[in-house]
């Protein structure tokens, strides 16, 4: 970047929500994971929008994935009203379809964000996307378990040059840890993969707090060169290989 024209960075944030049948399984006395997260997302967006500095820099999109990906909220500046619709109930969990769709959206959204800032007396630079991938970690499509070899190539496209997205994978109690670890990015062996420590009604709230904190840190504060590592959200633990 030159110093001839100053730059302002815009930060695209994607929330990927698993809407498969297993996410709607409810245990007595607790919300189903999908319900928990559906309640969390509007609160999360409202909290982010309340921060004036974040609202100036952050954009958000919500994508559900089950049998097929579904755009619940197109990429929208937090400075504008954000509307998220409810997902259709899905049956399967097609990771390959979800990640391919995300990869396609990232380029479309980058162009849209740059165009939005083109009129100002500064240049808009779109930062690496931040992806929060919420799932139970059980990819299943076309009547069978979806092997990592089917969806990992799309994950690699998203996390490698030129996109270099950063992914936090989040699962509730009982989610498949190996899958969460494989999706997430991080620093060395420490990846941004988290799993709830127990069935907890407040898991969505603490996760929302943690997501807000990590977004604030990664957007508004200087950080050391290297990969972003998210602190463990309350009520969750980091997943290791």
């Amino acid at each position: 970047m030159s110093v001839t024209v100053s730059e302002r960075k815009s930060y695209p944030i994607y929330i990927m929500l698993d809407s498969s049948a297993s996410m709607r399984r409810r245990l007595p006395g607790a919300l189903a994971p999908q319900e928990e997260f559906e309640q969390m997302i509007p609160d999360l967006i409202m909290s982010l929008s309340d921060s004036r500095s974040l609202a100036k820099a952050a954009w958000i999109s919500v994508i559900a994935f089950g049998d097929r990906p579904e755009l619940l909220c197109p990429m929208t500046s937090l400075a504008e009203p954000v509307q998220v619709r409810s997902p259709r109930d899905g049956g399967h969990t097609d990771y390959a379809g979800a990640l391919r769709f995300l990869h396609e959206r990232i380029e479309v959204d980058r162009v849209a964000i740059e165009a939005h800032g083109a009129a100002g007396n500064y240049r808009t630079k779109v930062a690496r996307p931040l992806v929060f991938f919420i799932t139970d970690g059980a990819p299943y499509a076309h009547g069978e378990f979806q092997r990592p070899g089917e969806w990992m190539p799309y994950r690699e496209k998203i996390v490698s040059e030129p996109v270099q997205a950063r992914i936090a994978a989040i699962g509730l109690h009982g989610a498949h840890q190996g899958t969460l670890f494989a999706i997430a990015t991080g620093k060395g062996r420490e990846r941004n993969a988290f799993i709830a420590t127990a069935r907890d009604e407040g898991a969505g709230d603490s996760l929302a707090e943690s997501v807000i904190t990590v977004i604030e840190r990664s957007i508004k504060l200087s950080v050391r060169t290297g990969e972003m590592v998210i602190d463990e959200p309350r009520g969750m633990r980091r997943v290791h290989d």
Binding site: T4, E7, R128, L221, V223, R224
Partner: protein, 355 residues
């Protein structure tokens, strides 16, 4: 306009002799002939020039005055006798920051007597806790400082920006400034600031590592400048690691002296990680120039063409502003720039008696 360093030295020598004659044979008041403003910003040694770009051909366009610019009106109970507030002398050494409050300092420094008259320097400095830290309920992490070395007639100014992702970064930033000013003013006479810069940054980095307790982490950017006032301006050397920046303003044009912009992220080189690799640049600034050091929360809004902040400051800093106006300028209103903001600015006097 003289861009040749050799010619500039010749001009400086002629003016210096003229001034000396006036001191020796004049009336006691040093009255200087009008000095043509000479934009003489150039690199003296050809070292580490990466990242520096020439100023654009077109000067920064002047802002249309006036109504959009806020003005701080002082509460005056009893006006000073000559209509102007006295500028205090800069403290011998001052270190402050933006932890839980904004802070500022100001004052003049320079050599007021002797056979070799030099311009006086006026310092304005402010460090303001950012809206992001305030919103998160965390402490600000910028630190600033200045020291006047009477023995060597040199001013040292410094800005450090603690990395928000590491908890102890605010303390680390303050310690980096304290250590830098100490090492600058106790350096052996035989070692120039520029030649000793890498060793100095290594020593600061080693000290920062020692100061961190087990399990504690902190880091900061650091930019330090030496300003040696001369009869016809000032020799300036800037040393930096990370995204805190140094700029010069002359004749309404901004020129960047140190920056590390370039990534799409807010990741930066830091102390102590990159203490062995500071970037060092030397320049001569003309009388009437302004040297500015700042954290990225402030200087990130500057550029050399269309930045509204750069344009506004080019107009407002033609003469040095009052200290309260300066704080107002550092606290400019724009919600995008919500990290801590720090700025240390030095107005290079236009004559040996310019206080």
């Amino acid at each position: 306009m003289i861009e040749n360093p050799f010619m500039a030295v010749v001009v400086a020598t002629v003016l210096g002799v003229t001034a000396l004659a006036l001191v020796l044979f004049g009336t006691g008041h040093l009255t200087l002939p009008p000095v043509e403003k000479i934009p003489r910003l150039w690199h003296r040694p050809d070292r580490n020039r990466d990242g520096i770009e020439p100023p654009p051909d077109v000067p920064v366009k002047e802002e249309q005055p006036e109504e959009a610019q806020p003005k701080v009106v002082r509460l005056v109970i009893d006006p000073p006798r000559d209509g102007q507030e006295r500028e205090p002398r800069l403290p011998a050494r001052v270190v402050t920051g933006s932890a839980w409050h904004g802070s500022f300092f100001h004052g003049w420094c320079g050599t007021t007597g002797g056979a070799r008259p030099a311009v006086l320097l006026n310092v304005r400095a402010a460090s303001l806790r950012g809206a992001t830290h305030a919103g998160m309920g965390t402490e600000g992490q910028d630190a600033i400082g200045a020291a006047w070395d009477e023995t060597n007639s040199a001013l040292y100014v410094a800005v450090a920006d603690g990395l928000g992702s590491l908890a102890a970064s605010g303390r680390v930033a303050a310690e980096a400034i304290t250590a830098a000013l100490h090492l600058c003013t106790t350096r052996p006479d035989s070692l120039s600031f520029a030649d000793g810069a890498t060793r100095m940054f290594q020593a600061i980095g080693a000290g920062l590592v020692r100061s961190l307790k087990e399990g504690e982490s902190g880091a900061c950017t650091l930019v330090v400048a030496e300003v040696i006032p001369r009869f016809d301006g000032a020799e300036v050397t800037v040393v930096g690691v990370g995204d805190s920046e140094a700029w010069a303003l002359f004749d309404s044009r901004w020129t960047v002296l140190h920056h590390e912009r370039g990534g799409s992220e807010n990741a930066t080189r830091d102390m102590p990680t990159h203490a062995a690799e500071p970037r060092v640049y030397s320049f001569v600034l003309s009388p009437g120039s302004v040297l500015l050091l700042g954290s990225d929360g402030f200087t990130g809004a500057l550029d050399m063409s269309v930045s509204p902040l750069a344009r506004a400051l080019a107009r407002l800093w033609r003469q040095r502003p009052g200290w309260l106006d300066f704080v107002n300028h550092v606290g400019f209103v724009d919600e995008y720039w919500s990290d801590d903001r720090s700025a240390v600015a030095v107005w290079i006097g236009e004559g040996a008696v310019d206080g």
